[in-house]
């Protein structure tokens, strides 16, 4: 609570808030409402989406852009891929982050090792995509393989593989997920590591004295203590992955079965505004559960404070 002596005037707080609130109204609230509105309009936003309906074909009237966003084969592919990204990347990054946090904690060159794993956080997704495009590079002719992975394949006596343009779409997606883990594991590691270091040493010692193995100490004591932190990491990763765009845009352009929601939205920005905005609304709808979780957690924290 604010101390009594500090309560000066009823107008003052609004003066402090004015600039920030005005900017957020223009750049967050207005565009959000406008996006919902445009999602009900046609390609150019001039008429209702219903006018593009062709008699005899399925149509959802004013909501026709949502028919595209939810049922078109390109969109179902994108939705499937985003779901797979979530299924693979959330456990993948959290597990990698947890592993690194635990192992680096036990070596003397901890800081150096952590900086290396964390460094991808500093560079752009575009830069990271270039790095990995080069790792996956494929020489389909007789020349030497200049991508590390295919050079290894050849050295092992196997055929080089098109890692990003494979007829098997799962291969392309797995290649992209590896880039994602490379990018985000450092983030998970840093947060989990801070939580691990905050676990009181006495508790662990007590367990060890009682004869618990290191394995038991970790899973029975440390893990439950850091579980709330892991939940925070998971919710953050879910948001990051729902929004994933740059990696796909630069590495595959969404081709060969690697389409994702955000890339679809981007493709339609100029050519079909209504669809583009319907996809954007869909994306934000998917983030609402996380939003609710975050607000609830915030209120719990405030209640303790």
């Amino acid at each position: 609570m604010v101390p009594k002596i500090m309560r000066q005037g009823t107008l003052t707080p609004w003066l402090y808030l004015a600039a920030a609130v005005a900017i957020m109204l223009v750049f967050i609230v207005y565009p959000t409402l406008n996006t919902v509105m445009l999602s009900l309009r046609n390609k150019t936003g001039t008429q209702s989406a219903a006018v593009d309906c062709i008699p005899g074909e399925p149509c959802w009237g004013t909501l026709d852009n949502y028919r595209y966003a939810l049922t078109d084969s390109e969109m179902t592919q994108a939705l499937r891929n985003n779901a797979l990204w979530l299924l693979f990347m959330v456990p993948g990054t959290v597990a990698a982050g947890l592993l690194f946090a635990v192992v680096t904690d036990r070596v003397r060159y901890e800081r150096l090792a952590k900086t290396v794993v964390f460094l991808p956080m500093a560079i752009s997704f575009v830069g990271a995509s270039i790095i990995w495009k080069f790792v996956y590079a494929l020489e389909s002719g007789a020349g030497a393989q200049i991508g590390v992975l295919n050079a290894i394949m050849v050295a092992l006596g196997r055929k080089p593989i098109p890692w990003l343009t494979n007829p098997n779409w799962m291969v392309n997606n797995v290649s992209l997920w590896i880039v994602g883990v490379w990018l985000w594991a450092g983030f998970c590691m840093t947060i989990i590591s801070a939580a691990l270091k905050a676990v009181p040493e006495e508790i662990l010692e007590a367990a060890r004295v009682d004869g618990a193995s290191e394995w038991q100490v970790f899973w029975r004591i440390m893990f439950p203590i850091i579980l709330p932190t892991i939940t925070v990491v998971i919710t953050t990763m879910v948001i990051n992955i729902l929004k994933v765009f740059d990696i796909v845009f630069v590495m595959t352009g969404g081709l060969n079965g690697t389409e994702v929601i955000a890339n679809r939205m981007f493709k339609f920005i100029v050519t079909n505004q209504g669809r583009s905005m319907a996809i954007a609304v869909l994306l934000i709808a998917l983030t609402i559960p996380i939003m609710i979780i975050n607000v609830r957690r915030f209120r719990e924290q405030e209640a303790i404070r």
């Binding site: 500090m6 000066q8 830069g127 790792v135 200049i146 490379w182 954007a280 607000v295 915030f298």
Partner: protein
């Protein structure tokens, strides 16, 4: 050393393998593009970056030594009537198909090639395909000897970086073109002005700085005022407004771009720096306010009470107390916002298409056939230098900020 300690050390070996292996996995991909950025176009195309430090043999040298050197000499000029340094002679045999036809013709009744193994291969019409494959490097070698062809340049060079900076996309290098005067008539002036070429990374670097610096300062400034109000001022709706802010932090940016772009075209802000500054400010504010408010709210109450007892008002309390004390939080925030804006691609493409920033310029360089890795790698590294310096120098602030509000992506 006691057995106990030896066992201990040995037992830790798997641990070190895991840690070092993981560091290597994280480092090698980046090392690949760093090394590649210093290699010539031909070297990148014909060999892996991991071979950069070993000098590969000139193509065909071994084959030439085995089949030809005994008569023509190691340098190719031993026979006066067949001087392999003479381009007019070699000219006719630069393809292996023409070379083999010539080699199959006897000289003075004797087979052209003396070496029995090569002789057998060349004569055998069943194995023409194999012979052609083996002769290809020889004809390439002859080309290099006579000055017709050019050997692949395996030396390390900074020319890719220069080409990327000025936006040179020709077949030679910027420096070579300028030295021979080819570029004088074209778009390059061959002086410092070339750094301003709109297709170059130098210009994009400048654009990135022009976008990023104000986009970092503005949201922090506005957020500091708002955060102070949320932390130390009393007004109705304080709690629910802040809860709304917590939710807003994760609004996917993609949503808000099109209406803003339309608004800008009506206001004449399309493709202006002011436009992109304002957008990044708006998008950065919820997180900035959240972080700063939590930090300010955590400061001791007594401090604020005592400064008020001394007769201060909110304005002095804000500048004399709140701002100086929140320097660590402002530091974390500045790094976050800086990296976020510097690395952004989507907003820059849509709101600032005419003044490409680094990320956008790189995507312009991508060749779908993969023909310009030498340029792309240098460009990618150019874009990473600043964020990596900022990151390593202020890592502590960065981690602190991450821990304070791990919600924004």
């Amino acid at each position: 050393m006691s057995t106990e300690r030896i066992r201990n050390t040995l037992g830790r070996i798997p641990l070190h393998i895991v840690v070092i292996g993981m560091v290597a996995l994280w480092l090698i991909p980046a090392l690949g593009i760093f090394v590649t950025s210093f290699r010539s176009r031909e070297a990148v195309r014909t060999s892996g970056w991991w071979t950069a430090l070993s000098t590969p043999p000139t193509p065909g040298q071994e084959e030439y030594a085995a089949a030809c050197a005994s008569c023509h000499g190691a340098d190719g000029k031993a026979l006066a009537e067949a001087d392999l340094l003479d381009p007019t002679i070699v000219e006719s045999y630069t393809s292996s198909a023409r070379l083999i036809r010539m080699l199959r013709e006897p000289i003075d009744g004797q087979p052209h090639v003396e070496d029995p193994e090569w002789q057998a291969l060349i004569e055998d019409t069943q194995r023409t395909r194999e012979a052609l494959e083996k002769l290809a490097p020889v004809s390439e070698h002859l080309g290099i000897l006579s000055g017709l062809g050019r050997a692949v340049d395996y030396s390390l060079t900074a020319s890719n970086w220069i080409d990327a900076l000025v936006g040179y996309k020709g077949t030679e290098t910027y420096q070579a073109d300028c030295a021979t005067g080819v570029s004088q008539s074209g778009k390059f002036k061959c002086n410092a002005r070339d750094l301003l070429n709109p297709e170059g990374m130098a210009r994009a670097f400048l654009n990135s700085l022009l976008v990023t610096i104000p986009s970092t300062i503005l949201p922090i400034l506005f957020a500091a005022f708002a955060a102070y109000a949320f932390a130390w001022l009393h007004f109705p709706g304080r709690m629910w407004m802040f809860a709304l802010l917590v939710g807003l932090q994760i609004v996917p940016l993609q949503m808000t771009l099109v209406p803003i772009a339309q608004l800008y075209s009506r206001l004449g802000l399309s493709s202006t720096f002011v436009g992109i500054w304002l957008f990044h400010t708006g998008f950065g504010l919820p997180y900035a306010i959240y972080l700063l408010r939590n930090f300010l709210g955590g400061l001791p109450r007594d401090l604020f009470e005592s400064i008020y007892l001394d007769g201060a008002n909110h304005w002095t309390a804000f500048w004399k107390l709140a701002v100086p004390l929140s320097v660590p939080a402002i530091g974390s925030l500045a790094i976050f916002q800086f990296l976020w804006v510097w690395n952004d691609l989507l907003v820059a493409i849509i709101l600032l298409p005419t003044s490409p920033v680094l990320t956008y310029q790189i995507t312009n360089l991508i060749d779908p056939r993969g023909g310009n890795w030498h340029l792309l790698t240098a460009a990618a590294f150019l874009s990473m230098i600043v964020p990596m310096i900022v990151f390593v120098a202020f890592q502590r602030y960065f981690v602190r900020g991450l821990l304070a509000g791990a919600v924004k992506g």
